[in-house]
Amino acid sequence: MTRSRRRSLQRAAGSPRPGLKALRRRDTVTGLLFTAPWIIGLLAFAVVPVLVTLAWSFMKVRLSGQSEWVGVDHFVEMLQDRRLGTAVVNTLIFMGVGLPLQLLLSFAAALLLRSLNRLRVPFRAIVYLPTVIPAVASVYLWRWMLDGQHGVFNTILGALGLPPVAWIGEPGWARTSIIVMILWASGTTVIIYLAALLTVPRELYEAASIDGAGRWRTIISIDWPSVRNVTTFQLVMGFIAFSQLFAQSFLLVQTNSNPTAAGPSDSLLTISMLIYHEAFVFSDFGYASAVAWALFLVTLAGSLFIIRRSDRTQGQA
């Protein structure tokens, strides 16, 4: 290669030609044009509304536009709101009972699925099936099954000579029904656990077997620790999902005549449901926004706490 040819190549590599620069600019413009609908949608339907609700949480909102600042009044009001207290307690009950159950049962189901060699695929589909049914359709299905008079559960109880149960009529049973509905639709959690379990190195089980570990010891000492990262992920996702619990409890007791129906003794009133009532039934958008932001901050703090705690535990291990 001649010296002049080498120089010319170095120049080309170090400083782009004017044509290349224009091409890159055109690429950027084309890319922006293609992504513009999504970016505009994100800004219009997510970013801007979120920022608006932040402002609204400090305002007495009038939808006609004549809103006024009220400072932290809504946040002070939250401390005295008995209904919000009920919603927080209910949400914590659902989370405290439902989330551990969901994780343990999903893990157990994943272990079972893993042990089914040939039948794994059809059973995996069966477990996942409820997840693909839209929430509204599945809740209405449950509503029919839990019906006090014609529901399939009470029909079975009647056939066995047992008294009917007020599945949606008594606080304890109503909450139980919600948790059962959530567990029924935990297919995603099961599948993620199953995927994680299938990646555990076979050598670990062989070593355990040589050491004389039984089935239970293997689960405790190999399976469960091996999916710890997945459990942290499931815990965070479950924590967020239970914090925002709405569709199941709202649809199970929704009636035309009572827009604030929340089950017996408000036993199904969750924080998200209360936000909906405040905004769309009581037209108090300012207070609803304040509760929504409080929920967001608590959920964020809780999620970070779970992740940090998990990191620390893993570090110690």
Partner: protein, 422 residues
């Protein structure tokens, strides 16, 4: 031409088409040379929607200035979202009177007073109590399509078998309730009356929910209202009673506990008549005034009132045309066409004696008489009206679920009510 350039042109052309479509949509609303087109978005569906569509058709055929397009959209949240936009997605809609105060506070409803005055519209023909819950600071924001008073409806066969007459006092109602409540092997098989609504019963006992226009419940009557149901079921296993109540079927069905004999008397509205025709055509029942305490005969005729309304959206740009349609919807002809099939009550006093209403029978007439001659009770139009009603419902549910006493529930309600007025 490079592929990239072609794509850029396609994107640009797509954007241009979108802009043109938007402009075309705007131009479509223009009505310089033809009738003004307005939209009536209503919450009804099913048979009621058919009646509304037929009324819209009648209106459109009756004149050439305004064309109404009807949209059935039984979604309250969507209705509220549309009302809060800068530009109306509908011009006229309907709702219940209880929402008027909050929506006026939000600036969502057009003030109808200037139209009423300019047109010399005879608002005095409406029962005054049906207009007052729609009025804020002397201005009217909605007009009533139907007014609902509540009455005591009783199962004739159950009363005859027990040798009872319909009650005329609260004491008689409690006595009849106990006599008609039946059990079998410890299980409740029928209640005289179901869980009593706190809001209405407080008025029946002479109580009030407001003082000087602000939320302030009278405590003695509110406690007595909640105690009434508890007194009826005293001595029964409370959990058995709750299980029985929880087994009640859907209200809008043949499983309605009144139709299937699980409850012998209910406090309900006139729509129960058309419901019974649909779901329980052979069921025999009677309608009487809701009883009042024997010691307070001056309360006779007291009845809770609710109103179904039609209004113009504040963000409508065609309020004049919308007013023409609202006027039609509350005209005697339209009110008859809407209320007779649904057995609701037109709120115009001049229609009380109309033969079409008389044909609906004595049970229906009891509701008409109550509307026109009774002592009607309602919450005023205020920003807190709906929330106050929800607080009352919570208090009553807590008592009937056995989680608190009537005294404690009412004490908490009094405290919560103070917060509403602030």
């Amino acid at each position: 031409m490079t592929v990239r350039r072609k794509l850029s042109r396609i994107v640009a052309a797509g954007g241009a088409v979108a802009v043109l479509m938007g402009l075309a949509a705007c131009a479509g609303d223009s009505s310089e040379d033809g009738p003004t087109k307005i939209t009536f978005s209503y919450l009804w569906a099913g048979d009621e929607a058919k009646i509304v569509e037929s009324l819209i058709e009648t209106f459109n055929e009756s004149q050439d200035d305004v064309v109404v397009e009807g949209i059935s959209n039984p979604d309250g949240a969507a209705q509220l979202a549309s009302l809060s936009g800068s530009r109306a997605q509908f011009d006229v809609s309907d709702h219940f009177g209880e929402s008027v105060g909050a929506w006026v506070d939000q600036g969502l409803l057009a003030d109808l007073t200037p139209f009423i005055e300019a047109d010399q519209f005879d608002i005095d023909d409406f029962v005054p109590e049906s207009i007052e819950p729609l009025t804020v600071d002397g201005n009217v924001y909605s007009l009533p399509l139907s007014a609902y008073t509540y009455q005591l409806v009783y199962n004739k066969k159950a009363f005859e078998e027990a040798g009872l007459q319909p009650p005329t006092t609260i004491e008689e109602m409690l006595e009849a309730g106990r006599a008609l409540t039946t059990t079998e092997n410890g299980r409740v098989t029928r209640l005289g009356f179901g869980p009593v609504q706190l809001k209405g019963m407080n008025w029946q006992l002479g109580g009030e929910w407001t003082k000087d226009g602000e939320p302030a419940p009278t405590t003695d009557e509110a406690v007595a209202s909640l105690q009434l149901y508890l007194d009826q079921i005293a001595g029964l296993d409370e959990s058995a009673v709750r299980s029985f109540v929880a087994s009640f079927g859907d209200y809008w069905s043949a499983d309605n506990p009144f139709f299937n004999g699980q409850v012998a008397m209910v406090i309900d509205g006139p729509w129960l008549i058309s419901m019974s025709e649909r779901y329980a055509p052979d069921f025999e029942y009677g309608v009487v005034e809701i009883p009042v305490p024997a010691a307070k005969p001056e309360l006779a005729g007291t009845a809770p009132l609710n109103v179904s309304t039609v209004f113009i959206a504040a963000n409508s740009e065609k309020k004049e045309a919308a007013w023409e349609f609202v006027k039609f919807m509350v005209s005697p002809e339209a009110l008859l066409a809407f209320n007779v099939p649904t057995t609701n009550i037109p709120a115009r006093s001049s229609m009380a004696a109309s033969p079409e209403l008389a044909e609906l029978g004595p049970n229906y007439q009891a509701f008409v008489t109550s509307l026109n001659e009774g002592q009607l009770k309602y919450l005023p139009a205020a920003p807190w009206t709906v929330e106050y009603g929800a607080l009352m419902a919570t208090a009553q549910n807590e008592v009937y679920d056995g989680t608190t006493s009537p005294q404690d529930a009412v004490a908490r309600l009094v405290e919560a009510a103070k917060g509403l007025g602030e």
